[in-house]
């Protein structure tokens, strides 16, 4: 079971922000994506934004469990915090592993790496999000997606 806190300005409104201790279970990951995408929809972001946000959550959570938690118990949860605002969506994903240096990830778009089956998650996140950064330890990914300009 995931331990979830969703917050809104009044107790009865759907949540635009949340903090979720996410287990490595498909149902829990789907529920998190639904909560964030519902907030994205309430704030009337375009359809392409929902695609981008969903992709970023999917890839970040997969990387956290697959790479961040390598060697850790499969029961370990990943912490996800999100906030959907009028101008931007912020999503932070923190694993409980030792962290990594994002500079060490090879560029999957180089000709010599094109046929390597893995290693595209972080690159896709960077392509779809407006800004991304890691904490110093390298176990927390901070993503920001800015609402596109109306004519974009």
């Amino acid at each position: 079971m995931s331990k979830t806190t969703h917050t809104s300005h009044s107790g009865n409104e759907p949540a635009d922000a949340g903090r979720v201790e996410l287990p490595n279970e498909r149902d829990a990951i789907d529920a998190l994506q639904r909560a964030v995408l519902a907030a994205v929809e309430r704030h009337a972001y375009p359809k392409a934004s929902a695609f981008a946000v969903r992709l970023a959550i999917e890839e970040a959570v997969t990387n956290a469990f697959r790479h961040g938690h390598q060697g850790l118990s499969s029961d370990e949860t990943v912490l996800v915090e999100y906030e959907v605002g009028r101008d931007a969506v912020r999503i932070e994903v923190e694993d409980r592993g030792p962290g990594f240096d994002p500079g060490d990830v090879p560029d999957p778009t180089l000709d010599e790496n094109l046929e390597v089956p893995s290693g595209r998650g972080l690159m896709l996140i960077r392509a779809y999000m407006t800004e991304t950064s890691h904490n110093e330890r390298g176990n927390r990914l901070i993503m920001r997606y800015a609402r596109p300009a109306p004519d974009a």
Binding site: R26, F51, T62, P108, T109, E115, S118, R120
Partner: protein, 120 residues
């Protein structure tokens, strides 16, 4: 595990095996692995596989699914066969472009176009 459940719709069009996904979202690691194994079995049934993978019903695709496609492509090539992809939603096609995987896959707009390209 309970009963084996196929995640694909498979149709033979002449000597081409056309595969379509049942799931709209190809995200779950377990499902992706099952899909990979099912398609690998299909490839191994043919002497010279001609495989068409249609994304007609697919809304979302993870990078793990892209990895499985690369593995499938290698297997088809190793057996001297051909692989085509078709019916890719524009948002998903962008993912192929961003990752430059549109350079290594033979992608067609429709299944019909893809099937014709095998016969050419």
């Amino acid at each position: 595990m309970t009963n084996y459940q196929s995640r694909l719709r498979i149709k033979k069009v002449d000597d081409v095996t056309r595969v379509e996904f049942i799931d709209r979202n190809i995200l779950d690691e377990g499902n992706i692995q099952a899909i990979g194994e099912e398609i690998t079995d299909l490839i191994d049934q043919e002497t010279v596989p001609k495989l068409l993978i249609s994304f007609a019903n697919v809304d979302h695709l993870s990078s793990s699914a892209l990895g499985t496609l690369i593995t499938i492509s290698r297997r088809v090539k190793n057996r001297g066969g051909e692989l085509r992809l078709s019916d890719i939603d524009p948002q998903i096609y962008d993912v192929f472009v961003i990752t430059r995987l549109n350079k290594i896959f033979d992608i067609h707009e429709t299944s019909e176009d893809a099937i014709k390209s095998f016969q050419a």
